[in-house]
Amino acid sequence: MEPVTTTSYIVLGIALFMLLNSAAIAVYAERRVSAFIQNRLGPNRVGPLGLFQPLADVVKLLLKEDVTPAKGFKTIHAIAPVIPVVTALMTVAVIPFGDGLYVTDINAAVLYLLAVNSLGVYGVTLGGWASNSKYSLLGGLRAAAQMISYELPMGMAVASCILFSGSLSMIDVVNSQEIWWNIFRNPIAAVIFIVAAFAEANRTPFDLVEAEQELVGGFHTEYSSMKFGMFFLAEYMHVVIGSMLITTFFFGGYHLPFAGYWLPEMGSTMKMILDVSVFTIKTLFWAFTFIWVRWTIPRFKYNQVMKLGWKRMLPISIFNFLILAVLIYGYHHWLG
């Protein structure tokens, strides 16, 4: 592990700040994009183009009455919304935003990411249980089951990326994609990872945790005020983080396509700006896709989600991993 430097603190500060804000922007974007999809205008009254709408939303949430169910478990009910927010914020520690622009480079960064990312479900499940409401409970249970089912194919998809980098460090994963992005080398895992990322973020078509139509609000049925706001915030941070992870693992992180072949040497400031812009644009594209998918297609049923996870994605991801492992071994030992 590298020593913690001033750069680390600066990157951490900026990244956390940006991530918190990106959730607000994602809320605005979701409302505008959904409006665009639905032939509406969307929020356009608060500030220029309605850009201050997230602020108004937060103020509204803060001023609302905070209701706790009379027979709920009050402590857990209060703690639960914090968990997904904190775990979501923790992930930025290992994501490289540019050449040398990362908070820390730990040698098990991929494992750390998978671990932290899946911790978030505790908040949802505990919140669902502590609410003492049947709808919330069903939502929480669905969240737990879904998280377990999709963590596995996601892990296998990531593992097949590790085969190319030969290291669990995120920096190495990104650097191994300087010429060939993983989407070209490993398309099957890319598809699996994207699907799993949608499931992990609890977005349509995998939003049966909330399932507005059948479970009223799912795990957050009994939440109000800023506690609900936290869940809301966490959902959008998961969208942003999901987009970042898709970008990092399969779309070359901050690298332009085939950058190793044609990108000339440039000054460190220029390179930094370029890297961060490239990374941001890719993330934005995937965040847009998250929103786009949400407002277009229906949601799966619980048993269909399980079937897809266990019967389709898991075997495919394992075979993909094995075949890639054999191919790479063969390439290095017999051809290379």
Binding site: K134, A211, P298
Partner: protein
């Protein structure tokens, strides 16, 4: 059979006596569910109360589900939360005065309800309706059918999770509202039909709008088909979900698209044609599967057939009066009312006494509403008010099938199945 006393299981916080009497009423209605087995150590069973206040039960439908995990073992239905006593109201109104109430029964297709009441009264009082009025009524009914089916499509797909669809179908419904606005001066509760005809002729504007809609709508319908037919998720959510066998459907008395989705091609427009349905050419979409997907296809194809009927009606639309010219049976035209003494007296008498069917006469007449057979039974005592008017509403009958369909499905299916049956509580509870 041990039953669980709901009164003991809940702890009302607000207005105890009232709450307790409510739960007691539930007990008396046999909506309780057997006590959970003692041998259920994992506590996987649970009773879930869905509605009457629930985002996806289409109004105030209440479901009580006995769940095993996510599986519905048993479902109970509780209706009556929107009971307004319209049948009783009818007894204190003249036939024409009652019409606005029918608008509010199946509030998604008011025109069909108006026509259903009118045809029933015309049958009992033996009123001749001019040719042109028949065609205008058919156009109105088919537009109402499209409007109702569009709302069904939007809500059903929204219940399945695709929210945007609701708004896309509402854009089309908005056009229909504008047409109705131009036909009868109301967007929603139109009350355009009259006993003995219709209130007024179609304006040129309205005709142009209908023509434009008929030309444009098939394209939109194709878009809807394109988005849903090959959508794997939508397909999987609906296929083999909520299966209703033809035998069971007939036993229960299901009607309309629910019955036709189960493979029984019964459509009153074809079996006992009213208005001029025997002069237009259309098909009765029928599917054999009896699942939710079958009901989807039936309704989608019905919209196409409705467009076909409207096109033919527009071609055939005869010239002539739109209301029967008999002041004892129908309102005289406004020209007469404003410029002749007799006209004014007749208008006054129609409003005050209304049409008086012969004493002791009784009749039942049904039309094919968007949701199925919509029938009015009228018993007359010779006055201008019905002695008894009862309504055979399709939503009520189709809801009977719901318990059957829900047993053995998943929680997530409930909303889709309710959407597929397409009940309107205003009509079911009357």
């Amino acid at each position: 059979m041990d039953t669980k006393n709901i009164k003991n299981a809940v702890d009302p916080q607000f207005f105890k006596e009232h709450q307790e009497s409510l739960y007691q009423a539930l007990e008396d209605k046999h909506t309780t569910i057997e006590l959970m087995d003692e041998e259920d150590p994992l506590n996987t069973k649970m009773i879930l109360n869905m509605g009457p206040q629930h985002p996806a039960t289409h109004g105030v439908l209440r479901l009580i589900l006995q769940l095993n995990g996510e599986l519905i073992e048993k479902a109970k239905l509780d209706i009556g939360y929107l009971h307004r006593g319209v049948e009783k109201i009818a007894e204190n109104k003249t036939y024409q005065e009652f019409m606005p109430y029918t608008d509010r029964m199946d509030y998604l297709s008011p025109y069909s309800n108006n026509v259903a009441l009118c045809t029933a009264v015309e049958k009992i009082a033996d009123v001749e309706v001019p040719e042109r009025a028949h065609y205008i009524r058919m156009i109105g009914c088919e537009l109402a059918r499209i409007s109702s089916h569009l709302l069904w499509l939007g809500t059903m797909v929204m219940d399945a999770g695709a929210v945007s669809f609701f708004i896309w179908t509402f854009r089309e419904r908005e056009k229909l509202y504008d047409i109705f606005d131009n036909i009868g001066g109301h967007r929603f509760t139109i009350s355009h039909a009259r006993i003995g005809g219709v209130a007024n002729d179609l304006t040129d504007d309205a005709l142009a709008m209908i023509k434009e809609f008929v030309n444009e709508f098939p394209k939109e319908l194709n878009d809807f088909h394109g988005l849903l037919d090959r959508n794997r998720i939508f397909f999987d959510r609906n296929r083999e979900v909520g299966v209703l066998t033809p035998e069971r459907a007939l036993e229960i008395g299901a009607t309309g698209p629910t019955l036709r989705g189960s493979g029984y091609a019964y459509d009153i427009r074809d079996f006992e044609p009213y208005a001029r349905y025997d002069e237009v050419d259309f098909e009765i979409p029928t599917r054999l599967e009896g699942d939710n997907l079958a009901r989807y296809y039936v309704r989608m194809e019905e919209m196409q057939q409705s467009i076909r009927i409207i096109e033919q009606c527009l071609d055939k639309l005869p010239k002539g009066p739109v209301r029967t010219d008999n002041a004892k049976q129908a309102y005289p035209s406004k020209d007469e009312v404003y410029y002749s003494m007799e006209g004014m007296i007749h208008d006054f008498m129609m409003t005050d006494t209304g049409i008086c069917p012969p004493e002791g006469e009784e009749s039942y007449h049904a039309v094919e509403g968007p949701k199925g057979e919509l029938g009015y039974y009228i018993k007359s005592d010779g006055t201008g008010h019905p002695w008894r008017l009862s309504i055979n509403s399709p939503s009520f009958k189709n809801l009977q099938a719901l318990e059957d369909m829900l047993d053995g499905e998943m929680v997530a299916d409930t909303v889709v199945i309710i959407g597929g049956v397409d009940p309107v509580m205003g009509e079911a509870d009357k």
